[in-house]
């Protein structure tokens, strides 16, 4: 599990293997991509490939893509996908694009792993950091994770967000704050929620600045970060405006995330609440849910100030649970970053439990969805109960990782307690 020597050949082998596997699934099982695209666990209203096709059709016929209320994704996807040959005639190009994006994500993850940031940040060095997996292993775990595979085969557009977030982190750890912020702005432009990652990412950039061009003043650095993100977002919005000729896209893409106006079921916790809710309380609870989602940012950033990458990882896990439209793609992003903390795995206590709960839920979820939607013998509560279990499993994992990281920090402060049993009071 040390990954051995990572030669050029092995690197290429991994990428080619992952690409061939995906291509084989695309071509040998032609029914599967469409099946997965229709699954609510993979495609949410804001990432569905089917909806993208609809938007693309409207766009290519000079109708506003947001007419009809089906397309809720960023406008810049439209020129990108209309540059590709038509999906109905030559789907292979779309497949190749998705495969390439996955490989790009994997390479960013590899960079993050090789930087060793997870074990030794600027302000904190874990005594256990020697026990870690190489970038090869971590990239392999990401590429062959069934959730990542399913997301890629289901052609959810969240893979672009995943790629952008991973690149933002990779740039940040390699001391390129500008690149990191630009990548984060792209992620924000595509899915809005990555904006919440800005504080820990900015801290990571700040800690990892190259000494020769470091900005020492925190205030100055913060303002630079904010202005870069605002600037890039402004440019992206401007381009979107030029493409669609109206500001309608703001309401259709970000508005729907903020107001949850499409209540298609997904693996998250929001849809059921808002189906059940009386309209008069809707605005209030939208506020509460968003506040809840964003309140983790400040607390975690402060508490684990010395390890910003941990904050980013935990936040991605929390977003995978509490976001308005989560899918297994968000889980796959979180699970991609978890192996970076190989050194604290021995401190984690519920890995088996969390893994079993997640596995059970991913088995029962489709079954209960089938009972609800197709067989008609179940109802929405079946599926919602499974999503609760799923999120319970994820939160166990998030909490356990947080516990392990904090314990690791604590043992540095209190070396005499290392390895002893402690009890929380």
């Amino acid at each position: 599990m040390d990954g051995g020597k990572v030669t050029q050949g092995r690197t290429a082998g991994l990428y080619v293997g992952a690409a061939v596997l995906r291509l084989a699934i695309f071509t040998l099982l032609p029914g599967l991509p469409d099946l997965l695209t229709g699954r609510v666990e993979i495609s949410t209203p804001v990432t569905s490939f089917k909806r993208l096709q609809e938007g693309l059709f409207l766009y290519n016929h000079n109708v506003s893509p947001y007419d009809g209320g089906v397309y809720h994704q960023a406008p810049l996807f439209l020129p990108l996908f209309s540059l590709l040959p038509s999906f109905s005639n030559l789907p292979i190009f779309t497949y190749l694009l998705y495969i390439a994006v996955d490989l790009l994500s994997a390479s960013a993850l590899w960079k993050i792993a090789d930087s060793g940031e997870a074990g030794s940040a600027a302000l904190f060095t874990s005594p256990r950091r020697d026990k870690r997996w190489s970038g090869y292993v971590i990239a392999a775990v990401f590429l062959f994770n069934p959730f990542t595979l399913a997301t890629c085969i289901g052609r959810s557009t969240s893979v672009f967000t995943t790629c952008a977030i991973l690149h933002a982190i990779a740039k940040a750890v390699s001391g390129a704050p500008f690149g990191a912020l630009v990548a984060l702005s792209f992620a924000t432009y595509l899915s809005l929620y990555p904006l919440l990652l800005l504080p820990p990412l900015a801290l990571l950039c700040y800690d990892r600045q190259r000494p020769e061009r470091a900005t020492k003043s925190a205030a100055k650095f913060t303002s630079i970060c904010a202005s870069v993100v605002a600037g890039v977002l402004g440019v992206l919005f401007g381009m979107s405006y030029l493409i669609t000729d109206s500001w309608e896209f703001l309401v259709s893409t970000y508005g729907i995330q903020l107001t949850l106006s499409d209540l298609t079921p997904n693996v998250g916790l929001w849809w059921y609440f808002f189906i059940e809710m009386f309209d008069s309380f809707r605005a209030f609870f939208l506020g509460v849910f968003w506040l809840h989602l964003s309140c983790y940012v400040g607390g975690l950033t402060l508490r684990i100030r010395r390890q910003p990458l941990v904050v980013l990882t935990l936040l991605l896990g929390i977003f995978a649970i509490f976001k308005p439209y989560p899918s297994i793609s968000d889980t796959s992003l979180f699970l991609a970053l978890v192996p970076l903390y190989r050194h604290v795995f021995p401190l984690m206590r519920y890995t088996f439990l969390a893994a079993s709960v997640i596995a059970y839920a991913s088995c029962l979820g489709p079954a209960f969805y089938y009972l609800w939607i197709y067989a008609g013998s179940g109802n929405a509560n079946f599926f919602y109960a499974v999503t609760l279990v799923w999120n319970l499993g994820l939160s166990l994992l998030v909490c356990d990782l947080m516990f392990a990281v904090l314990r690791d920090e604590w043992e540095v402060e209190r070396p005499e307690m290392a390895g002893k049993e402690i009890r929380q009071i």
């Binding site: 599990m1 079993s356 059970y360 079954a367 009972l371 009890r423």
Partner: protein, 862 residues
């Protein structure tokens, strides 16, 4: 800050904590409760009497400065304050002694804050807010505690900022003020300030001198006379000096239990218990106490409430049709349809035809469906009911009476004006492929290369009745066939309606599950239930109705049987009555059960009653998986070593996951091979293929085990993990399956039971001396391995299939062909379960059984 040591949250601990509360704390607790109870009556207002009201404070009313903490606004206020104050007070008292606490809390520590409050409130703020409640004590004690914590532990660190610990009660104060609207900020604040002062020791002099207290105690023999009294001297022995204590072993009883080596011995018995309870549960179901009588849930159905008029001259029509069709015996499907289509058109119905071609097991199943739609006079074609008659039934008998009866019924229905749903007549050449093609195309879920689309359609299908009437002459009873594809069932209301109409209204017998005789006693009920479970577990189509059920169209096939005095018209009246009931439906059948086991026509158990049995069987695998996971984390040799340690360490060794995961993944991915082979091999090769596969399958585990040992030499821990993961997957799949197809899950679970109790042979107790290789022991090991391989082969999927075929006297080739047809035509998933759930688990289990763990005790160490 250090909170009072409240041990755990378990009830016994809480009880012991309460029973150890010292005297003064008890007294205060009692006083507060008493005041609250007194406050319940109206003649004497305790709150007005005792609260601290600034304007009322004079010499006469100075008692208020002492009573106000004992009086509360309401029960909620009381409970909240008690919860915070009692632990703090208990701590204070056991530290300073009962007499000191009495003196202080009925003296300076209550009066000073009270006077301070009155002073500020009245003279500075000029207000007059009454306060009461023990929260002032809470804040006072918090303040004192905070100062003490501050001395030992001055700062806590949030990220990089040091925050002095004495500020924490202030944060609490602010939270209280913000969250509890009626709380008095000023009251709490003065309490806190006095607490700080006390903590800093500036008013220590107010406490009565120890000498005096000791004298009083000695004279009055207080410690001996009063229970729970905390003497002044006891404080020198620490907080719990003489009081009974529970710190030590019992405080960590859960941890203690975890370390007990016996806990690891438990899971196999637990698994066994699960299995036994699961099986016994199943056999209890037919008893009256566990099963229920059926009942009609959907009020709209009103079965048997209408007069049926199908008889008289319709009998002549029936004979005429039968005569026409008799001439068509042996004609091809197309000729048949050519002849029938004008007849149906002649009834005034729209007709259409549909071609289908299926390829399965080297065969081509093709044919042409003919269907006709009777448009309801009273609705807009949004809903429809289907009447299906196949030319051949599932046993390949010609449906001699079924098709004429269906035609006659349609002709009769056409004359009525009361239909509010369209009626569709579907005539199919066979009982499986034809209906499947038609339903698929009706719902646009068909593969257009094989099945033609339907040229005309009606509304959403609400129900379907299939007639299987191949019997000549008069009949006695009706047999209801209700099993759908993959063990799905129609809504129980539909079956109940038919039972009600045929049995109740028409007075004919009703049978289910080919139980021609049923005395409604335990053996017959059990037999009926088990037959139903077997059929549902196999998941095959059992009649033309089966294809409808996956589309959420409730359907049954009715088949007359026996020798009695009922004629075709009686059968027609049953169908008429059922159609009239379905016609009444306001919405889709949804009220009654979709998951049930019928054990007699009027007795059933619902999912809530029977599901535990399959879930328990599935849970046994999960329990074992968890146990093996825990076991694999313990240092090796800890359980098998000569001197058994009294307690296991909770420290776990690192687990090497990659080899076990790899083996399990390999087993799972190998399963695609048999699945593909048996579904795509041509008919005539199926039997030889099966023979070859069975032989290979017997050799596969030793081969795999040999290569595994040669290539990776797994440790004992890794074998445990292989088994753990494989059982985890099995348990997971089976519990999921139990929600979809309960009988199949139970069957697979039962035949997989041996997998739970496997362990590597060389670990078995008698061969633990394998470290000293003598020729006799190694040859006995060899013999045992052979025996084990043979035993595993006996419970392998192919062997069980063979045994099943022998038991029911059917050819293996026929079974495999039927399975392949079902896979391609109906989408039965039984094969997937057998090959991709059961077989990999069996394979992994065999590998574990034959495994030779690398030298024991060398540790997994990596």
């Amino acid at each position: 800050m250090r909170l009072p040591n409240i041990p755990g949250f378990s009830l016994p601990k809480l009880e012991s904590y309460i029973s150890r509360l010292p005297l003064f704390t008890r007294a205060m607790l009692a006083a507060m409760v008493v005041f609250q109870v007194v406050g319940l009556q109206h003649s004497f207002d305790v709150r007005a009497w005792g609260a601290l009201i600034p304007d009322e404070i004079g010499f006469q009313t100075l008692y208020r400065t002492n009573t106000f903490p004992l009086i509360h606004l309401n029960a909620f206020h009381l409970v909240l304050n008690l919860l915070t104050v009692i632990p703090l007070l208990e701590r204070f008292e056991s530290e300073y002694g009962t007499l000191t606490s009495l003196a202080l809390f009925f003296g300076p520590l209550t009066t000073i804050p009270a006077l301070l409050y009155v002073g500020v409130e009245k003279h500075i703020l000029g207000a007059n807010t009454p306060v009461m409640g023990a929260s002032i004590w809470a804040f006072l004690l918090f303040g004192a505690e905070a100062i003490r914590t501050y001395r030992t532990n001055p700062y806590f660190v949030i990220s990089t900022y040091n925050i002095p610990t004495w500020t924490s009660p202030l944060a609490l104060l602010l939270c209280m003020a913000a969250l509890v609207p009626s709380s008095s900020f000023l009251g709490h604040l003065v309490g806190l300030v006095v607490g700080y002062i006390w903590g800093l020791g500036y008013i220590k002099f107010l406490a009565p001198p120890e000498k005096a207290l000791r004298w009083v105690e000695g004279k009055l023999k207080l410690p001996a006379r009063l229970p729970y009294f905390v003497s002044v001297d006891q404080k020198t022995y620490g907080r719990f000096g003489v009081l009974p204590t529970s710190t030590g072993p019992s405080s960590a009883s859960a941890l203690h239990l975890r370390r007990d080596p016996r806990i690891l011995k438990l899971p196999p018995y637990l698994s066994l218990l699960c299995i036994v309870v699961g099986v016994v549960w199943l056999f209890l179901l037919p008893f009256d106490d566990y099963s229920r009588r059926t009942y009609i849930s959907e009020n709209a159905l009103l079965p048997g409430q209408v007069h049926t008029y199908f008889s008289g001259s319709d009998q002549h029509v029936f004979r005429a049709y039968k005569h026409e069709l008799h001439a068509l015996a042996g004609k091809s499907n197309i000729e048949f349809n050519d002849k029938l289509e004008p007849i149906v058109k002649g009834l005034g119905l729209k007709t259409a035809r549909q071609n289908f071609t299926y390829h399965a097991a080297g065969h081509t199943l093709e044919g042409e469906n003919l269907y006709a739609i009777l448009q309801a006079p009273r609705s807009d074609a949004t809903e429809a009911i289907v009447l299906v008659a196949a030319r051949e039934n599932v046993r390949n008998e010609v449906n001699i009476n079924g098709i004429p009866l269906a035609l006659t019924l349609l002709r009769y229905f056409k004359r009525w004006s009361l239909w509010s749903k369209d009626i569709i007549l579907v005539l199919t050449p066979d009982s499986i492929a034809g209906p499947q093609a038609w339903v698929d195309a009706y719902h646009d879920a068909h593969d257009t290369y094989r099945v033609a689309s339907l040229p005309i359609k009606s509304g959403a299908l609400q129900g379907a009745i299939a007639i299987d009437y191949a019997q000549e002459g008069r009949f006695e009873s009706v047999h209801i066939v209700y099993d759908g594809v993959n063990g799905q069932l129609p809504n129980l209301d539909l079956i109940n309606s038919v039972v009600n109409i045929a049995g109740g209204q028409m007075g004919m017998g009703v049978a289910i599950q080919e139980m021609w005789q049923h005395d409604n006693k335990y053996p017959d009920r059990l037999r009926t239930m088990l037959r139903g479970m077997l059929k549902q577990g196999l998941g095959l189509a059992s009649g033309p109705h089966s294809s409808f059920i996956p589309y959420h169209v409730d359907a049954v096939t009715l088949r007359p049987f026996g020798d009695g005095w009922q004629d075709e018209m009686a059968m027609g009246r049953v169908i008429e009555g059922t159609f009239r009931s379905l016609n009444n439906l306001l919405e889709h059948l949804h009220q009654s059960f979709f998951f049930y086991l019928l054990m007699q026509r009027e007795r059933f158990v619902s999912i809530g009653t029977y599901l535990p049995s399959a879930m328990l069987v599935a849970a046994n695998f999960t329990i074992m998986a968890i146990a093996l996971w825990i076991k694999s984390g313990h240092p090796e040799g800890a359980t098998t070593g000569a001197d058994k340690p009294k307690r296991l360490s909770t420290q776990t060794v690192e687990r090497d996951l990659f080899l076990p995961l790899g083996v399990v993944t390999l087993c799972q991915s190998l399963s695609v091979i048999p699945l593909y082979l048996f579904n795509h091999a041509p008919d005539n090769t199926l039997t030889p293929l099966f023979a070859v596969f069975t032989a290979l399958n017997t050799l596969l585990p030793p081969l795999l085990s040999h290569h595994l040992t040669a290539a990776a030499a797994p440790t004992e821990q890794q074998y445990h993990l292989i088994k753990s993961f494989s059982l985890l997957l099995l348990g997971m799949f089976l519990s999921t399956l139990a929600t979809l197809n309960f009988p199949l899950s139970l069957l697979i679970g039962l035949v997989s039971i041996p997998l739970t109790f496997l362990r590597p042979l060389s670990l078995a107790p008698s061969s633990s001396s394998s470290s000293s290789p003598s020729s006799s022991s190694s040859s006995s090991l060899m013999r045992r391995r052979l025996l084990a391989a043979a035993a595993m082969a006996a419970v392998s999927p192919p062997a069980v299939l063979l045994a099943g075929c022998a038991l029911w006297g059917v050819g293996v080739g026929d079974v495999l062909r039927a399975a392949a047809v079902a896979w391609h035509v109906c989408g039965t998933w039984t094969q997937v379960v057998v090959w991709c759930v059961w077989w990999p688990a069996w394979l992994a289990g065999s590998v574990v059984l034959l495994g030779r763990p690398r030298g024991m005790g060398t540790g997994a160490g990596k």
